[in-house]
């Protein structure tokens, strides 16, 4: 299992600093590959556990401030409504937009599943050098007009 320290939160932090509205922050976090990776790597229970410990402390730096939003969006990417609702119900007294974003996510929720599909690599055909047998040249024999022997072999 990856821990929260294994991720690079720079994009999320910049989004948090420049956010004027909660939906801007949500849009940025949804498109952040780190949040997607987190949703892929961690289970719902792990994310909720991390969220519980993140909302308990009063943020002293920007990472602490952005983490509750990050976990919430990661949960929404997972596509299951029950854990998302559970997360919204936890609440985050120090994160002003947590409830707004949580309710927005619940309202606009569409269930989805992530499936890993394994496919065979397609056969790669390398161009072959032309061989006499594959030649498609057709030879047409033309008859010269009668009496003209100048070009005769």
């Amino acid at each position: 299992m990856k821990s929260q320290h294994d991720y690079n939160y720079r994009n999320a932090e910049v989004a948090f600093v420049t956010a004027n509205t909660p939906l801007f922050l949500l849009r940025k976090l949804r498109s952040d590959p780190v949040v997607r990776a987190m949703a892929f790597d961690l289970s719902e229970d792990e994310i909720i556990g991390a969220l519980r410990s993140a909302v308990r402390r009063n943020p002293t730096d920007i990472r602490d401030a952005v983490l509750p939003y990050l976990y919430l969006v990661a949960l929404s990417i997972k596509g299951k409504v029950v854990p998302l609702k559970q997360a919204v119900d936890i609440g985050a007294p120090h994160a002003e937009w947590f409830k707004y974003i949580g309710n927005y996510l619940l309202k606009s929720f569409t269930p989805s599943t992530t499936q890993v599909v394994s496919i065979l690599m397609p056969k790669v055909l390398l161009p072959q050098p032309p061989t006499p047998s594959s030649s498609t040249t057709t030879v047409k024999m033309l008859k010269y007009p009668k009496g003209d022997s100048s070009n005769a072999l």
Partner: protein, 202 residues
């Protein structure tokens, strides 16, 4: 008297402490010294809101966040100064007291973060949309509207406009909890594909 001033120094020292709880209690106590308990609460609560109305006397929901910016936020704000080199970064500190909509619609007093509230201000204060960009002039306002969810994610005030050269358009805005910036219309961290201009004419 001397004992009281010693207490004030101790509280001032506590305000510099990294622990937010001790800092907050020190702030409250200091305010108590200065203003008495009743006035103190309205002045010092870290998160609050102002009584602010539209011209039609309807309340403008707002959030006044007095908390100090975290060190990480200051660092990222500095990085924005280096990243957007053609913008003019005003000598203002990062703060959460007001945001872009607070600058545009509430004279830097508080933060407004709900698009519906911005829409209410536009309607009830009598803003008119400007369709012809050549008629823009300083004082008009610009809204950045997300093409994904129609969120009014940024706003600013036009400070320079040239009817002949639309590229000379300059906007004064505040970038979230970072500082104030004078920038080109597309030279900012917001989605500039869908922008609208408004003017208050009376």
């Amino acid at each position: 008297m001397r004992r009281r001033s010693k207490g004030i120094y101790r509280l001032a020292y506590q305000m510099l402490m990294p622990s937010t709880r001790s800092r907050r209690s020190a702030m409250l106590a200091l305010a108590g010294f200065a203003f008495g308990k009743r006035r103190m609460l309205s002045l010092i609560l870290p998160r609050d809101s102002l009584r602010l109305d539209t011209r039609q006397r309807n309340h403008i929901e707002n959030s006044l966040d007095r908390s100090m910016p975290t060190p990480g936020a200051v660092q990222h704000a500095e990085a924005l100064r280096r990243q957007y080199v053609t913008a003019k970064h005003r000598p203002t500190f990062p703060c959460s007291t007001y945001n872009c909509h607070g600058l545009t619609f509430a004279a830097r007093r508080t933060g407004i973060s709900d698009s519906a509230v911005v829409q209410k201000i536009l309607t009830e204060d009598g803003y008119e949309q400007i369709n012809d960009r050549r008629s823009l002039s300083p004082g008009d306002i610009v809204l950045y509207i997300s093409s994904i969810n129609n969120d009014i994610e940024h706003s600013g005030i036009v400070v320079d406009a040239d009817p002949i050269d639309p590229l000379r358009l300059r906007i004064l805005s505040k970038w979230g909890s970072a500082h104030e910036v004078i920038h080109g219309v597309g030279d900012c961290p917001y989605d500039a594909r869908n922008i609208m201009f408004y003017r208050m004419t009376r």
